[in-house]
Symmetry: C2
Subunit: 342 residues, 2 copies
Amino acid sequence: MDKVLRILHMLQKIPQAPGKITIAQMLEHLSANGYNIARRTVERDMTGLSTVFPITDDETRPAGWYYTGDVGRWIFPALNATEALTLKLVQQYLTDLMPASVLNNLAPFFSQAHQEIAAMDDNTLQQWPNKIASVPASQPLLVPIIKTDVQMAVSQALLENKQLRLLYQSREQTEPAERIVHPLAMVSRGGLIYLIAAASAELDSIRLRLMHRIHVAEKLEAPSIRPEGFDLARFIDDGFLGFGQGRQLVLKVLFLKETAAHLYDTPLSTNQTIEEYDQNRVLVTATLADTQQLTWWLLGFGDKVEVIEPLALRQKFADIAARMSQNYQPVIPTDKPVSQTS
Amino acid sequence: MDKVLRILHMLQKIPQAPGKITIAQMLEHLSANGYNIARRTVERDMTGLSTVFPITDDETRPAGWYYTGDVGRWIFPALNATEALTLKLVQQYLTDLMPASVLNNLAPFFSQAHQEIAAMDDNTLQQWPNKIASVPASQPLLVPIIKTDVQMAVSQALLENKQLRLLYQSREQTEPAERIVHPLAMVSRGGLIYLIAAASAELDSIRLRLMHRIHVAEKLEAPSIRPEGFDLARFIDDGFLGFGQGRQLVLKVLFLKETAAHLYDTPLSTNQTIEEYDQNRVLVTATLADTQQLTWWLLGFGDKVEVIEPLALRQKFADIAARMSQNYQPVIPTDKPVSQTS
DNA sequence: CAATTCGCGACATGAATTGTCGTCGGTATA
DNA sequence: TATACCGACGACAATTCATGTCGCGAATTG
């Protein structure tokens, strides 16, 4: 039994492909956990494990051991029904919303769930896709593909505070350009993942870069410098991502009754109230942040909502509505100027 | 080494709290995997494991063994930087979009990631929240709370094809009502999770129920009946969820240039094209499904877009725009009829 | 080139694992 | 209710298997 425990410790300590662990390190780790063991034993255990698990040592001296490729993480206990279902649900949910390469990292977890369900006796497996689904709540857009090696390099550099050499293809330019940057943070928003980084030349200029536009990323050895006082939350709130936090406002909006139905289940804020207004409409009141999403969200309802307060917002909507109806003045576009540039 | 493998097999086979496994079953499982082992050995191993892992047997005869609670029971190899980061990202991403009780099931995975990062030498841990964030792409709504036990009972019934007794609080009624239902599927959409089920009385009437509106759920022993030919995908496409798939259409829309910027990164469809139209605008063409989300999404841009084709959609937008500007006619709402019902 | 360090085969010791058997207490069956 | 049955568990002996030690050769480091 003692050996089993020790082996488990070892299995946990062995890293994946980019990393490696030497016998000496492992020995240290074990003795730190109270295993007084001979070096030879560790060696034997490692070679033993490598015959059974996808574990190899590079042929250097001292040897470094690591998991090769995809670790079938089959070492953990059975998931229960809820967990398996949840994982499936989340997987479907994320598939439309996250770059594939990001999800690939989670693949082992998901496949575990899959196997779990597959193992359940009867024909549960076949019925599977018929039992669970995820419907996108907003217009599904195609998510870009992020290169796996880019993702890896950036993640590592970010965690280890190292500089990065990037080949970045900006939208404006035709050719990718090389840049040395100090990575600061990674932010995901609706299928896109942004790398926030400072240029090595001028540390003050913090820029956003889209992960999928990075052609090549190489982690450098030079440590990265974080501008003093850089605060990610504030950075986002300040609207650098185009979606600032804005200040709180008290919103009063008229909704068609059926349109407001879902607000009973997913309220806008904790203090949201919904009152009868007239035959067809209800008045929704809530305190929330004045963001661009809010405008976007409210606009989405078209003529089914009417903003009452704050007045500034009402004015904004009135303007938009006016311009919109203007846009559609010739409802049937009489002339079709599909020419290039006016 | 042989024993280690065997124990690993055993650890995997032990289920969690609601489930259990007997020595006999375990023995069978092992011998099915090529371990010719004495029953006594299995017994000894189990008691051995129970001293080291959160494993107990209920005191019945034959004894059933199971994992107690959700202790850190995940024994798998070290996550690499990318995986750890990804998990964190996904966690943040999901927090705003999924009911907490659903996410709780994933907690072990996430905490593993957390520990992984915490274990990295220096002060990586403290810098953590400063390095990763997820910005909601649309208006964040408060997601309802689903009871854990309800979630469990429903999941199990769904997987095992059993009937369910529900205490369901519909929006219309003040008192929750008891129902016996045959669960068919679970569908998540934007923070809400729906249970699709047929009433036991009339199997043809398939209804949607919101998971968080279920007060009590009890899995019954009686097997559930799936209406013949029930097809979840078709069910959704047919619009029962309010978001039907609709048929394909060729969309032509004018966008303000800066508004269309993100379409370069997250296109609407694989065949999307973006052409210069005039000084300020581009013409976006794409083939996609005519869904309500599409309308919603396009409306969200307000006067920044103009639908050109199909004409029916243009007409629809023209109408909406007209009514909207009508709504805001008295831009400053002169009289404020905050009375109850007209 | 010398001094370590590392990997690994060999081997003896002993600890730990395993199968068998028998008893006891509870459970199912007639 | 009696009887047969089954599962759990202690005891014990056999032996496998795991462990520490030693030493050699190769590789690495200074």
